[in-house]
């Protein structure tokens, strides 16, 4: 029996070491850049990091990222001046684009279409509207030099806060334990493909057993509508609060949104108050191909092409650049 246990442990240990090596050699696990909080309490990536983002097993999606000196994933440095024409794209993971090669981003596609401009992509996974306006507000001296700012907004996700606060849950990903775990590419890979989900679920199941049980309340359709309306009003109020707190230049700023998933209340508010926005819903709807990746909801290359075209068209239509 002793022999069986010792040999089993030895085999498991050796196999894990070999697997760690194989995962590294074939680059199956993703690299994760380090994040930090700068002097303005803006959360961003530590500058000058390179790596590969991997999605799914067998490298279903494999793309290279490059964090520039400003702390965002982009092939170019952000050096706004009065002489050049610059456009900033500010948003979440859709703008950040770890799921694409950094040299084939939405910004690069716009630059290809309009060579005289420089596009700066301030994308960061999880950024909501509060994060975006706080960033622009904190780096006002830089953003004042940028000719046009486009802010990606998803109504149901990005307006849940009325003011900016540091998101500690994201920064907790930089805890010593997480950093240590991230060093093992085998763990990173197993986590990304869901192998480690069952132990986590088991732990939660166990912890939930210890907690007192909450009564589940069933909600009828009327109640669902009431909550939906209440949320829409709350999100609109948050929008107003955020623009009043951090400022919003209606002439230079444009929202990028999908009207199919945006509240009519919010859309009518934008129109009444002359906020500019780019609505890409029609372009996505008329697309003959899928615009999102198969394994997650981010835009695929075709989707990014459409977004870049819509932005390019908008910049031309508004005479921001020459036709």
């Amino acid at each position: 029996m002793k022999k069986l246990i010792i040999k089993s442990i030895l085999y498991v240990f050796l196999i894990l070491i070999v697997l760690e090596g194989l995962v590294r050699v074939f680059h199956l696990g993703k690299d994760t850049p380090t994040r930090f909080l700068d002097e303005y309490k803006v959360e961003k990536w530590k500058p000058n990091q390179n790596g590969f983002s991997v999605t799914g097993n067998r490298r279903q999606n494999f793309s290279e990222y490059h964090i520039n000196t400003t702390g965002y994933n982009s092939y170019r440095e952000f050096t706004p001046t009065k002489d050049k024409i610059e456009v900033a794209l500010v948003g979440d993971s859709f703008i950040e684009g770890f799921h694409q090669n950094y040299y084939n981003s939405i910004g690069k596609k716009i630059e290809n279409a309009i060579p005289e401009i420089e596009v700066y992509e301030y994308g960061y996974a999880g950024y909501d509207f509060a994060d975006q306006l706080h960033l622009i507000h904190s780096y006002a001296s830089q953003f004042d030099l940028i000719d046009h700012v486009i802010l990606g907004i998803k109504f149901s996700n990005d307006l849940t806060r009325a003011e900016y606060r540091v998101v500690n849950s994201r920064l907790a990903l930089e805890s010593p334990i997480n950093k240590m775990l991230k060093k093992s590419k085998l763990i990173v890979y197993c986590k990304s493909i869901g192998v480690l989900d069952p132990p986590q679920e088991l732990m939660y199941r166990f912890l939930n057993m210890l907690k007192p049980k909450k009564k589940t309340v069933s909600i009828d359709d009327v109640e669902i509508l009431r909550i939906k309306k209440e949320n829409e009003e709350k999100y609109l109020a948050n929008f107003k609060s955020l623009i009043s707190k951090y400022g919003y230049d209606k002439k230079r700023f444009t929202l990028l949104l999908d009207s199919r998933i945006t509240s009519p209340l919010f859309l009518s508010y934008l129109e009444k108050n002359e906020f500019n926005y780019i609505d890409f819903s029609a372009s996505f709807e008329t697309s003959d191909r899928s615009t999102t990746l198969i394994y997650d909801r981010h835009w695929n290359n075709h989707g990014r092409d459409i977004i870049a075209k819509d932005i390019t068209q908008y910049l031309r239509d508004t005479n921001f650049v020459k036709n």
Binding site: L4, I15, L22, Y189, I193, G194, V195, L202, I294
Partner: protein, 483 residues
């Protein structure tokens, strides 16, 4: 509790350690512990159906003793029928009740009587019922035929019926093999344990890498068969052949491996059926425990092949139809059984049904001959064709699937529904077939290499394969659990 779940990977080591460190001293204690563990194993799925297992156990335990105690053939027969009716009754109610009601309503509708059945019930099929009822019936049948003396040890008998490694999907054991081991004190055997661990690893590979990874492709093709051309439909049903093999033989390997950890040897259930040279050989290698059961308890009592050719053919038709019906309460399974009967009968009439019984393909050679390759391909083709019925939801779907192959006879490139590269699966299956061919002589020793380093490399590659093909979004339950 699924063999490929975390729950089982916690359950198994705990039971293993307690079994060999705490409850190892007496055979009766070993059995009681395994019995409790088995009931927990099953109860974690649905504790209410434990009463069915218990009922089946109690009934056959006492009937077995009563048959043995009676010298009168007629009384023995009566008690045997009580056992058969009770077990078939359980199966009939939980598995076939709705099927019979539905078929009756359909039958009447042919004559213009439109009935809305209020008799159909919302019954959950108790997992493993087809397996343990057959096992308990075999006990009574063996006693009736005087091949077995009944045990007076109820705990041992209950352990035989509910032994957790094979409780939910076999192998369907006969008391002469399993009960005799249960009534003997088990002693820890290092070699047996390592063999068990190797079989568990190989079984997991077949389940996670072969069966589960193919499942989304097969599901997609069978669900949307109207949208696909012949090439994709043929691909779908061919892949289903590998899926069902990986799934069920993977389960059986884990069951046999787990039993070995507790000092019990279960019978082999799969002997590389992919390399069968005719349909008869296929049935000697596919789901062996079920084929053996039907041969012993249906085919031979009907006269087997010792009667006239015509009667033998009748017997073959009966066992294949019953075998099909055993798989599920659906006409698709009955047609599937009928197709196999049609495929088997010519082999039987030509006297070629037993010629490959004791040999493997490419016996004493590295490579199969061209004749063998063509025989294997033909058998695979025929068996795969029958699987259209096995996999389809209804007879209409099965014929629709076949019609679509005929109507849309063209080639198209198939895209994986989850966006994976299809070439990965072709390479995987190619390597799998080559490896299985390499180990084809012994289904119980998947890592039979002299060199320890080669064995280590094989273990590592198998685990790497699992990591490469694991997908959290795939339903990981075993196909044969529904039977």
């Amino acid at each position: 509790m699924l063999f490929n779940s975390l729950d089982f990977f916690i359950f198994l080591p705990v039971v293993f350690v307690l079994y060999w460190f705490v409850f190892y001293k007496k055979n009766q204690v070993q059995n009681l512990f395994i019995l409790i563990a088995s009931y927990i194993f099953y109860g974690l799925w649905d504790w209410r159906f434990l009463f069915l297992i218990l009922a089946s156990t109690v009934v056959d335990f006492f009937i077995g003793q009563t048959i043995h105690a009676n010298d009168s053939t007629s009384k023995r027969k009566v008690w045997l029928w009580v056992s058969v009716i009770f077990n078939i009754g359980l199966l009939g109610f939980f598995k076939y009740y709705n099927f019979f009601i539905g078929s009756w309503v359909d039958f009447l509708s042919v004559f213009g009587y439109e009935l809305k059945s209020t008799w159909t019930l919302q019954i959950i099929l108790p997992v493993g019922i087809s397996f343990y009822t057959f096992q308990t019936m075999s006990y009574s049948l063996d006693i009736y035929y005087k091949r077995l003396t009944p045990t007076k040890n109820f705990i041992a008998f209950a352990t035989f019926v509910s032994f957790f490694p094979q409780l939910v999907a076999g192998p369907i054991e006969r008391a002469s093999n399993l009960l005799s081991q249960i009534t003997t004190k088990r002693i820890f055997n290092y070699t047996q344990c390592t063999e068990g661990l190797r079989l568990i690893l190989w079984g997991l590979f077949k389940k996670v890498v072969i069966a589960d990874s193919i499942a989304p492709i097969v599901d997609d093709i069978f669900l949307n068969y109207n949208d696909y051309s012949a090439s994709t439909l043929i691909l779908g049903v061919s892949l289903f052949s590998f899926q069902v093999y990986g799934d069920f033989s993977g389960y059986s390997d884990i069951a046999i491996g787990t039993a070995k950890l507790f000092g019990i040897e279960l019978m082999s259930n799969f002997k590389f059926p992919t390399f069968s040279r005719n349909v008869a050989e296929y049935w000697q290698r596919w789901h062996v425990s079920l084929s053996t059961w039907f041969r012993h308890y249906v085919y031979i009592p009907l006269g087997g092949s010792r009667v006239s050719k015509l009667k033998s053919v009748r017997n073959i038709i009966i066992i294949f139809l019953v075998s099909g019906f055993w798989h599920g309460a659906n006409w698709t399974f009955i047609v599937w059984g009928a197709i196999h009967a049609v495929l088997y009968i010519p082999v039987f009439l030509m006297g070629r049904n037993r010629i490959y019984m004791n040999t493997v393909v490419a016996e004493n050679r590295w490579f199969p001959s061209l004749t063998e390759i063509s025989q294997i391909l033909l058998t695979f083709l025929l068996v795969t064709f029958s699987r259209v019925f096995f996999r389809s939801e209804s007879i209409t779907d099965a014929f629709g699937f076949l019609e679509q192959i005929y109507v849309n006879f063209s080639y198209e490139t198939y895209q994986h529904p989850l966006g994976y590269r299809m070439i990965d699966y072709f390479i995987l299956l190619g390597l799998f077939i080559l490896y299985e061919f390499r180990i084809r002589r012994d289904e119980r020793a998947p890592f039979k290499f002299k060199s320890r380093i080669v064995r280590f490399v094989a273990y590592t590659l198998v685990i790497l394969g699992m990591l490469l093909f694991f997908d959290d979004n795939i339903d990981r339950s075993f196909i044969y659990f529904q039977f």
